[in-house]
Each structure stands twice: as C-alpha cells, then as structure tokens.
C-alpha cells in the first residue's frame, strides 16, 4: 500500500500535499497542546513501535502471510490526532531511510494510512465499542473490525489514486504516464489482496493487541473510552450532524439528473431496442457493441419485480426534480424505519440479559 515514487503524477502528489497539510497542522497543534513535554518522547517511541510492527509478518489462514500497519492500535491507544502524527513519522522514516514508499508520494501515503486510516479506525472503534467496559470482549471485536476497515479504506483510496492516473495523465498515443491501470482494474486488484490478506493481518494484530492490553495494561485503552456524559454528547452531536448531512444529500439528489446517459450496466429491456440507448452502451463499454437481441436471462427476470416508483419519478408528481427529492426522502425514510424496527427487535431480545 506504500505508493512508490513514479506511480502518481506531480499534480496528484501536489494535491495530496495540499489536502494532507491541514490535517498534519491541526493534529500536530492538538497533540502539542495535550501532551506538551511528553509529546516528543511519546510520539518518537510510538512511531518507532509502528515501524517495528510493520516488520512483523503474520501467518494467515490459507498459508499466506501479511503485515499490519498498526494504525488501529495507534488510533485506539493515542487517539486520532497523535496517531496521525505517529504514523506519518513512521511513514517518513520508511520512505527516506528504508525506501518503502516514495518521497513525492509521501503525502498521499500519509493521507491514506495516517489521516483517513486513523479517523476510520478511531471512529469505527468508538462506535462499535460504545460504553463497553475496558475488559469487555466487545472492545477486542471493535478493534479488530476497526483495523480491518481502516486498512481497507486506505487501500481503496490508494486504488482510486492509482485508477485515476491513466484517465487524467496520458500522452497523445494513449500511453499512461504513471500508474497504468484504470479504476476497473486498480480497485479489484488492490482490494482482493487487502480484503483477503492484509486486512486480515490488520484485523488479527489489532484485535490481538487490544486483548493483550486488556490483560496486561488496560489503562492504555482509557484514551478512546470517553466518559459516559461526553460520549452521549458526542453521539448526540454526531447524530445531529448525520441528519443535517442526510437532509443535504436529499436536497442535492436532483444533481443526478445532470449526468448524461444511464449508469453502466443499469440498462433496461427497452434500451436494447432504442438506437440512442444502444449508442450510449457502445460508448460506455469501450467500443464493445451490445447484443442485437435482449439477453434471455435479462428479459425473463426483468418482469419478476416492477418498481412502485420507476426511475425515481413518482407518478403523482410531474416535476422531475421534486420527484427526485421525494424519492430520496421516501427511500431514506424506509431504511431508517427498517433499522429502527431491527434495533427495537434486537433491543427487546437483549433486554432480559441486561
């Protein structure tokens, strides 16, 4: 996942530095304020630990091996800001001293692993662990999932950075000038290895380390366990932000109408007989012509289910934009209702044990 020099264009590298710099600044200032004189030794030793942990190759089920980044452990034990700084420093030493990861791509590597990795790990851990006791097995599961998620989100970002290179940076003959594979190859190639091997290594080391700390040094886990009142306030705050964000997305949903054509692979039976739709399919599929007749499987299954609101356009509304917003509200509302129903059922089932 450490991107070497030459895989990303100078423009991508510059953008990565510009995006990552504010995170570094804020994280550094926050850590400086919180730790003061303890900052230098703590970050130095923890960066060294992160570096050493990356050298541990774990045997994984299936006979393969993988190494962890330790981002979840850093985020859980130090908090997200200090984790961002510690992992960034470990990555800098790796890039400069051991040639693992590039110098021009350093900010991209930090953004993927140190910044996004730390944030994903910390928040997924806090959300899953909730108010469980420090010694609770739930915290081990939360750490393992946090490690797995953080590493895979970082890998996905890396794949996207690779995948946009041939789209944006190629010469007149079509030669990709940097990473050569488009998103359709970069994402599966990157994610298969990380979902199945590297992510499992991160899952094992994160869960295993938190289990070890629970037995030997549980006070180290207190950093990521806010007091009950603070946690409630945080949850209320994040829930409020979530609702605002959801409302914003619903209002912005008509933006989908600006996109030309249909989404790749979402063609209907009627599209095969429309010359305009066939032309769009041809263009979207890299010059491969769609079949002359509707595929029999598609024809057979297309009539199995008829959507009550096809194409996000309720029959009772004549305005396309309003129809989009109403569809977004209805869809989100149904999902929220379903989740409320599930949580009520699960809560009822669990209540006798509490």
């Amino acid at each position: 996942m450490h991107i070497p020099d030459g895989y990303l264009s100078p423009a991508t590298c510059a953008a990565a530095y510009a995006i990552t710099a504010p995170f570094w600044y804020v994280a550094f200032k926050r850590v400086e304020r919180l730790l003061h004189t303890r900052m230098v030794p703590l970050l130095a030793v923890f960066s060294a630990f992160s570096f050493v942990i990356m050298m541990f190759n774990l045997p994984l089920p299936g006979g393969t091996t993988g190494h962890a980044v330790g981002v979840a452990v850093a985020a859980i034990v130090l908090g997200p800001s200090a984790s961002m700084v510690a992992i960034s420093i470990a990555l800098l030493i790796q890039a400069v001293f051991f040639g693992d990861g590039g110098i021009t791509t350093y900010a991209a590597n930090c953004f993927n692993m140190a910044v996004v990795g730390s944030l994903v790990a910390y928040w997924s851990y806090v959300l899953i662990a909730g108010q469980a006791a420090l010694e609770s097995p739930r915290r081990v599961v939360a750490a393992a999932i946090a490690g797995y998620l953080a590493l895979n989100v970082a890998a996905l970002l890396t794949a996207i950075e690779f995948g946009v290179q041939p789209l944006l940076f190629h010469d007149v003959a079509g030669t990709p000038l940097y990473a050569p594979y488009p998103l359709s190859i970069a994402i599966p190639a990157m994610m298969i290895g990380h979902l199945s091997i590297a992510g499992v290594a991160e899952l094992a080391i994160s869960g295993g380390l938190i289990a070890y700390l629970q037995r030997s040094n549980p006070e180290l886990l207190a950093c990521s366990m806010p007091s009950a009142a603070a946690a409630r306030a945080k949850v209320a705050n994040s829930t409020r932000r979530f609702w605002y964000g959801l409302a914003g997305l619903m209002l912005a949903s008509p933006l989908g109408l600006l996109a030309a054509g249909t989404a790749w692979g979402e063609w209907g039976v009627d599209d095969f007989s429309s010359a305009e739709a066939r032309h769009e399919m041809l263009q979207a599929s890299g010059g491969i012509a769609p079949p002359e007749v509707v595929p029999s499987g598609l024809e057979r299954l297309a009539s199995v289910w008829s959507a009550p609101i096809p194409d996000y356009a309720p029959a009772f509304l004549h305005d396309l934009y309003v129809g989009y917003v109403v569809s977004a509200v209805m869809g989100a509302g149904l999902i929220v209702l379903l989740l409320l129903l599930i949580s009520t059922l699960v809560g009822r089932k669990q209540s006798p044990e509490c």
Binding site: M39, V52, F56, F97, P180, G208, L209, S216
Partner: protein
C-alpha cells in the same frame, strides 16, 4: 527408515516464525548500520554539504516524476549510477539489493500492463494469444524506470549522509524543530525496539520444542507486539523523565554547523537545473 521419516528428511525445513521474525529484524538493523558506516566513507557524495545533497536529491526525484520521456529517466538513472560509482557505493552492494527488490515489486505491478493497456499491437504472446501493445510496453518501462531511479536517488542520499546530518539539513531548510527532534528520537528508539523484539523472538525460539500451528504462531506474534507496545510506553515515560531531569521544558535546540563550499553550490545548481530544464524542454 519409515516412509514418513524419509519424507520428513526430503522436505526442506521451514524456519520457525520466531526465527524468521528475529532474523528479519536483525537484517534490517544490520542494513541500517551498514548505511551509517558507508556515510562515513571517503566518496564524492560523502564530502558534499548535507543541505546541498538533500535539496539536490529532492530536485532530481521531482525531475524523475516530472518528465514524460523514458530517455530522460534513463539518463537520470545513469547519473545516479555515476554518483554511486564515484562515491564507492556500487562496490558495497546496497544499490544492487535495492534494484532487485524494486524490480520485483514494480515489475510484478507493471508486467500485466503489457497486455492490459490498449494500443498498437507489437506482437502476439504464443499461448493465450494476448497482444503486447506499444503503449503498454512504454507505460511499464516508464513505471519501472521511474521507481528504480527515484529509489536509487533516495538511497544515495541516505547511504552517503548520516541520519543526524539529514535531520540537521531538514531543519536548516525550514522543517519544524519539533518534527526534527521527533524524527531523531524515532530513529534511535526504532533500533532499541527492534532489538527488543528480536531478542524476544530469539528467547521464545529457544524454548520451543514442537512445531506451532498457525493460530499459535499468530498468538506468538501478537503477544510479542503487545510486549513491545508496553515496553514502548514504559520507554517513552523513562525518556520523558530523563529529558525533564536535564532541563527540557518543551523547547528543542539543534546545533547547525554546516559550511557550504564552492562545489556544494555547484552540485546544488546542477541538481536544481534538471527539473527546470525538463519543464522548459517538455512545454
């Protein structure tokens, strides 16, 4: 001899996980120490001012990424080779090890591009019938050449300059003082923790009498990581107390005592002119 015993003898003995991990950590430490001794050598790069070397290496690495011409990347690689030869680094074998590992890594990534990148077909592969495209070949060559050249340039900086001098040069060039101090301490304690981990694995290996299965090996690696983590915290507390006892109050001071000579300025000028020439030539 029973068939099982004969099969066991024929089967190559796999090293134990603890042994592999300990040896891997020790090898990394040996390589780092070898770089330090090379940096103290008497070569051309070793005699340059670290600030010129740092800026020059960065300028050349940026040049490698900036250019779209394979010939320019190959030219920069030749320059790196010349510098390595003049600095007696080729004989030490560090460059060769790096080239092999970069070739294996980038080669594995770049190889499928030969057939996956669409373009003018150059020739057909015999068995699967895939066509190697000109664009794919050029793209793979660019990727590998860039990775090899930029990693060689970074290596030349590190093996010709002691780490403390690299940090001082970073500070002279405006890197935050606290960052430089953390980097210096990280480098020092990296070896302390790596040695602790290696000793831990060695001690564990000496007490193993039967093969361990996958789950036991994972438990061993995880508990070792846990011990190293606990020791890291203990060490940070100890170091912090030691720093406080010596009067540390959050202010870091470094001694900057570099003196640039005419050839340092010339080397710097030469390195800085490369990206400018590339930008001008590829307008």
């Amino acid at each position: 001899m029973s068939p099982e015993a004969a099969a066991a003898l024929r089967k190559p003995r796999r090293r134990h996980l603890a042994q592999r991990l300990a040896q891997g950590l020790l090898r990394a430490m040996d390589q780092a120490q070898a770089s330090e001794s090379l940096a103290a050598g008497d070569g051309w790069l070793q005699g340059l001012d670290p600030r010129s070397k740092l800026i020059g290496a960065l300028a050349l690495i940026v040049s490698v990424v900036l250019t779209h011409s394979l010939a320019v990347v190959v030219g920069l690689f030749a320059l790196a080779l010349l510098l390595a030869w003049r600095s007696q680094l080729l004989a030490a074998g560090v460059c060769q090890r790096l080239w092999l590992s970069v070739l294996l890594f980038s080669g594995t990534i770049a190889l499928p591009a030969l057939v996956l990148v669409p373009g003018r077909a150059l020739w057909q592969l015999p068995l699967p019938g895939w066509a190697v495209s000109e664009q794919g070949l050029r793209s793979a060559a660019l990727l590998i050449a860039r990775a090899e050249t930029s990693s060689t340039l970074a290596l030349l900086l590190i093996v010709s300059t002691p780490w403390t001098h690299v940090l001082k040069a970073m500070r002279c060039l405006g890197a935050p003082l606290v960052l430089v101090a953390i980097l210096g301490m990280t480098h020092r304690y990296l070896f302390v923790l790596a040695q602790t981990a290696a000793q831990l694995f060695e001690a564990r290996r000496s007490r193993i009498v039967a093969p361990m299965n996958g789950a036991q090996q994972r438990a061993l690696a995880t508990s070792a990581a846990g011990v190293v983590l606990s020791k890291a915290f203990w060490l940070s507390n100890e170091v912090h107390l030691a720093m406080i006892s010596r009067g540390y109050r959050g202010e870091v001071r470094l001694l900057d005592d570099f003196h640039a000579h005419a050839r340092d300025w010339l080397a710097l000028l030469g390195a800085l002119s490369v990206p400018l020439l590339i930008l001008w030539g590829e307008r």
